[in-house]
Structure formats: C-alpha cells, structure tokens
C-alpha cells in the first residue's frame, strides 16, 4: 500500500489509475527494502513521504514520475528545436561571422604590429603612460611564455561579445528607463540571466547549434555578460538630475533631443561602469565557454584540469588575470576621464 492511495480513491480516480497500486512494480526504495526484509513493514507516520510526483506515482501508476517531466521537457525542446532554429539561426549568423573574422584578424596581424596597436588604444582611451606600460609588460610576458596566440583569441572573443552586448544592451536599457512596464518585464529576465549557472545556458545551446559554430559560445557569453550594461544604462538614465530634464523641457527639446543631448551624455558614467562589468563578465565566461570549443586561454585552463597539468593551469589562469587587469584598468581610466569632465 502506498501512502497517498486515499487521494486517488477519494477523488474517484482509481479507474483512471488503472490497476491496483500494488502491481506497479517495485519502483520505490521503500518497497524494495520492505521486500528484502520480508513482508510488509508498517510505515510510521514519522516517515510519511512528501507528496512528490514519485510518491504519487506509487499510489497511482498513471500519475507521471518526475523523470518523465524532465524527459518531457527534453522532448518538448527537441520538438520545437527545428522551427526555433529556422528563426534563430539566421539571426545569430552574423555573430559567427564576426567571431570568425575577429579571431582571424587578431591572429593574422603580426605581434610587432599588434602590441603597438594595443598600446595606442590604451593611450587613446586612458591618456596614462602607466597603463601603456602595463599593456606592454602583460602582453610581453604572455608572449614570452608562448601564450600570445591564445591571448589574442581570448581578446578577439571578448571584443566581439562586449561590443555586441553594448549594441544590444544600451537600447534595451534605454527602453527600460523610458517605460516602467518594460522595466517590470525585463528585471526578472535579467535576474534570471544573472543567477542561472552559466553551464545551464550551454545545454540548450548545444542542442540548437553545432559545437563547431562560434556563435554557440558567443551567445552563451553575451547572455551572461549583457546584464550589467542593461541594468546600469537603465539606472543611469533614471538617475539623470530631474532639474536638468526640466530645463531641457522648458527650452523645448523633443524627446529625441533630450535622449541624445541630455540623458545619454549624463548617464555615460553609469553606462561605462556597465561596460566595464560586461567586459569582466565576458572574460569570466570565456573560460567556461571553452567547454564548447571556444578557443583561447580557457582551453589551456581546461587542459590543466582535464590532464592535471598544474603548471599549464596556473600559468593560463595568471594570463586571464593579467588580461582582466588590463581590460579593467583601461575601461576604468576611460570612465574616470568621463567623470572628470562632468563632475559637479
């Protein structure tokens, strides 16, 4: 006898359940134990099982077990997969191209051109010799230990993903700041993206795309890293001094003029803080994405774990830290320059 027989008996569903509960096979551990110890053991009320799907299945074989739920989800996903692919595939194809091109360019440009170029970028953004020096030391070190190519691959992926995040995230953030309803819808989605373990994104993506396509890891990185730039764009625009907005209104600005001439420039420090966070998070995700064929330093980390090559793991981990420091310092310096020109 199962604990919850009375529910189905009480509801008059015994016929729907089919035959009596007892011939459903020995599906539960308790029954199995009861069998081995010989004869029915009186179950004390203390051990009443939670009315879970499995427990109810014991009482009524027609009631689905929980593993049927998970396999049902899987079947459902597989069923819509093909039609989903028809829509998503062309939409995301440019991401594959961008990633492929970026990877090719970063590797094709010789190091003696690339490192000065990166120095130039660091200078243009931060105007600090100190940071340019940091760039030289870090890339010099990574090149010296023969990780130059891996570093460039990682940098290419981050570049493409961060740019995509900004291109998508800033407009979404603006939409959220202008409509409370959009904000109410978006906040739970952003919360979910932020808290869902990154590995979980990978599973449906693997079903959807082939592992050889770069967009597979591209999408995973973007989904994970887009959250801060969206949030901080929304926050930044909402925090713009209402007095200044009123002045803009009082001088007859249109909504569009207000957005581009007042709100976005004044929200820029917050938006840039979001971009900084987005870059940091895509760097974190790049390692996980190497599980699904993303090239770069993550592959080395993975190799370190898989074959217990401690040295490789540590050195590539250090490489990622160095990259993170450079990206963080350079974007923060850019942020500081914006802040100085606006501080009130």
């Amino acid at each position: 006898m199962a604990t919850y027989d009375f529910i189905f008996d009480g509801l008059g569903l015994r016929n729907w359940c089919g035959s009596s509960a007892d011939d459903g096979g020995m599906t539960s551990m308790a029954q199995l134990l009861a069998q081995t110890s010989g004869g029915d053991v009186e179950v004390s009320p203390w051990e009443t099982p939670f009315p879970s799907m499995d427990a109810l299945h014991d009482a009524c074989p027609s009631f689905p077990q929980s593993r049927e739920l998970t396999s049902g989800l899987e079947q459902g996903f597989l069923a819509i997969k093909d039609s989903l692919k028809v829509v998503v595939d062309p939409l995301t194809q440019p991401l594959s191209w961008a990633l492929n091109e970026a990877l090719w360019v970063m590797q094709a440009v010789p190091w003696f051109v690339m490192i000065p170029l990166l120095m130039l970028v660091a200078w243009a953004v931060s105007r600090q010799m100190k940071l340019v020096g940091l760039v030289v030391i870090c890339f010099g070190f990574l090149g010296f230990v023969d990780y130059y190519t891996y570093t460039m691959q990682t940098l290419a992926i981050i570049f493409v993903c961060a740019v995509t995040c900004v291109l998508l995230g800033v407009p979404i953030g603006i939409a959220m700041s202008r409509s409370d309803r959009v904000q109410r819808i978006m906040i739970p989605i952003l919360d979910m993206l932020q808290t869902l373990p990154p590995f979980v994104y990978l599973i449906p993506l693997i079903f959807l795309f082939s592992v050889t396509e770069p967009k597979l890891y591209g999408i995973a990185i973007i989904l994970y890293a887009i959250v801060p730039v969206v949030r901080l764009t929304d926050l930044g625009i909402r925090l713009v001094d209402p007095d200044v907005i009123e002045a803009a209104d009082a001088f007859g600005m249109t909504k569009r003029q207000k957005l581009f001439n007042v709100q976005i420039p004044l929200a820029l420090p917050n938006i840039m803080a979001g971009v900084n966070q987005t870059i940091m998070m895509s760097l974190a995700m790049v390692v996980i994405a190497s599980l699904v064929s993303a090239p770069g330093l993550g592959v080395l980390v993975l190799r370190g774990i898989r074959s217990l090559e401690l040295g490789v793991g540590l050195l590539s981990g250090l490489g990622i830290v160095l990259l993170a420091i450079i990206l963080d310092r350079v974007t923060k310096a850019a942020l500081a320059r914006i802040n100085v020109s606006q501080s009130r």
Binding site: D243, A247, A250, F251, G252, Q257, L266, Q342, R344
Partner: protein, 355 residues
C-alpha cells in the same frame, strides 16, 4: 496698471494633484479647503482659482511661503505642469489648446526659464549652455556663438565661454542660466526662485543685475520668490499666494500700506519700510505747494533717502517733483507715521480691486 498691455493672463486656474483630480475639483469649487480635501479625499490642492494678469514689460513677482503653490503656478505658464481646469492666455492665445509642436515653439521662442538650481547641462561648455535655445532649434555652435557670447558678456562672464559649469561658483552658474534665457530672445522670462540658492551678497548682486537688465530690455518677467525683501525690490506687480490661492495682488507699495488680510499684515510687519516705500506712496497730492519748503525731492525716492536728506528733522516738508513738475508735498511727520506698520486696512475689498 490698467493702461499697460497684458502679456499673460491666467483665468480661473485650478490644479489638483492626485489619482482622480476631476471629481476632487468639484469639491474644491464647492468650497472645500486644502486641508479638508487632503483629509477626506486624499488629493492635494495645488492651485485654487488663480486669476492673475501679467503686464508686458514689467516684473511680476509671485510670492509665497513653501507649499503655497508658487512653483506649481509658474510651471503652468509653459505647461511643464498641466492644469486641472482653467485657461492660460499668452499674447491672447490659450496655450492649453496648443499641440506638442506648438508648445515646443512657445518654449523655444516665447518663454525662457531660469531655475533655482541652475539646471545647466554639465557636459556642455558655458557657451554651449548659453546657446541652448538656438541649439535646440538646430543651429550649430558657430551660428549661435556670437549671440550667446554677447549675452554672456552682458551678464558679466566675459571670456569664460570655454569653461564647464562645474568649474564655476553658484553665482556665476546662475549668470549662465540668465544668459541662457536671454539668448533665446524670448519676450517672457520665467524665474523660479532664481536667486534663492545663492548666498546673500551674491543674491543682492544678482538682483541688481536683473533690475539693470530690466531697465534695458523691458522683458516680461515672472519672478517667484519666498523672500519679501526680494519681492519688494524687484516687483512692479506683486502677487501673494497662500495655500494655492491669491491672497492679495497689486502694486507692492499699495500692498505694504494697505495689507488686505492679517496674514499679509504679519508678513509685511518686519521689513525695512523706509527702504521700500517711495515718496509717491505717502505724499499729499497738491498741484501747487506754497509755503515754507526745505527743498525738492523726486517722487520715486525712497523714504530712507529723504530721512537722510532731512537729517532726521521732522519739522521739515518737501516739494515732490516728477519729471521736473510739481506733483505734491511731503511732510516729514507724515513720512514718519508711514514707517509704523498700519492697522489692518479698513477696506480690504478696495485694496484687492485696485491691484
């Protein structure tokens, strides 16, 4: 006051803040007070039956304590706040019928505004801030630079166009705010507690600047303040608000001498009357002034200056001149009597009508 042209005319304007203002408005029209409306219907009465005529080319000061609805009122003049009922006529047009586009034109070309907290755009230079109105109209910086620079020079900010607002003191920032309003070349300037955030000395400076600009440009200025001294210094026409209603309006001198309600009497009781009152308000009108006179004074002199002239001798009397013509006589005894706050006017109704 009746012979001047009316620039802005506010007709039975009501504003009720809350979720469902229209039914609440009916209660207000039925005579429910601000406090009762809040208690029984949870709506806030912002403005209650406001009727004000703003004369062209003059400074109209709207004065009231915080919560009196003065900032709400000024925001109705360019529809930053929508009224619940009533009319606002600007140059004879009811701006409440305006479309969005017409309203933007009005804000760009007819009315400009100066704010308490300056509200400059921190990411633009002073010159770009001063040129906000033309830049909103689509002009490039080089097109409006001359005009903006002219007004920056006029408010005393020569050669500071390339600075950013955060590099300037509060007083200088508000000069930029005024230059910004002037660069729009609008007839009407709305000034929302424009000098309240400045420290006293700077404030006096700025008041002087405004009076100077007014003498030169004769804009229609609507000035909001909670400071009676400031109001009396600047106003050609004074409107006193309390709890969203107009308590008294008229020429400041008249209000000072004939306060309509105990509220206003309290208000005006502790100001320096000698500095505010003018000879014309206390003199005796007389076409010919025979007899012993100590000298001639102008009808627009303050009583303070006359006291200084007489060296405190109350036995003297003066001929009062206007444009070189004799208009009356002023007895020093009468002057001293005028310095003592009067009992409440016998005829408050008359006081309000004359405004």
């Amino acid at each position: 006051m009746t012979d001047t042209e009316i620039k802005i005319s506010i007709r039975s304007l009501y504003k009720v803040f809350g979720d469902d203002p229209l039914p609440a408005l009916q209660y207000v029209k039925g005579g429910l007070s601000k406090a009762d409306l809040l208690e029984t219907h949870n709506h806030v009465l912002g403005l209650n039956d406001i009727n004000v005529d703003v004369p062209a080319g003059k400074t109209t000061v709207i004065m009231g304590l915080s919560g009196s609805g003065k900032s709400t009122l000024i925001r109705h003049l360019n529809r930053l706040i929508e009224p619940t009922a009533g009319e606002v006529l600007v140059n004879g047009d009811n701006i409440l019928d305006y479309s969005e586009a017409q309203l933007r034109e009005l804000r760009k070309h007819t009315m400009s505004m100066v704010f308490q907290k300056f509200a400059l755009l921190p990411h633009r230079t002073v010159l770009q801030n001063a040129g906000l109105a033309p830049s909103v109209g689509g002009q490039k910086e080089r097109q409006y630079a001359d005009e903006a620079r002219k007004w920056l020079d006029r408010v005393g900010l020569q050669g500071q166009g390339e600075q950013y607002p955060h590099q300037m003191s509060g007083g200088m920032q508000q000069r930029v705010g005024i230059a910004r309003a002037l660069t729009s070349n609008s007839d009407i300037m709305l000034m929302d507690e424009a000098f309240s955030a400045l420290d006293p000395l700077i404030r006096t400076d700025m008041q002087g600047l405004l009076i100077e600009l007014q003498a030169e440009l004769q804009k229609t200025v609507v000035f909001i303040t909670h400071d009676l001294d400031e109001a009396l210094k600047l106003a050609d026409h004074l409107v006193i608000l309390k709890d969203g209603s107009v308590v008294q309006q008229g020429e400041p001198q008249y209000i000072l001498l004939n306060p309509a309600t105990p509220y206003i009497k309290d208000f005006v009781s502790d100001i320096n009357r000698a500095r505010v009152l003018r000879v014309r308000s206390v003199m005796t009108k007389a076409p010919d002034a025979t007899g012993e006179r100590a000298g001639e004074i102008d009808h627009d002199d303050t009583l303070e200056s006359v006291i200084a002239l007489s060296e405190g001798d109350t036995s003297l009397s003066y001929r009062v001149m206007k444009d070189g013509k004799l208009v009356g006589v002023l007895d020093m005894r009468k002057l001293v009597r005028a310095l003592v706050p009067v009992e409440q006017s016998d005829d408050p109704e008359n006081a309000r009508l004359s405004g």
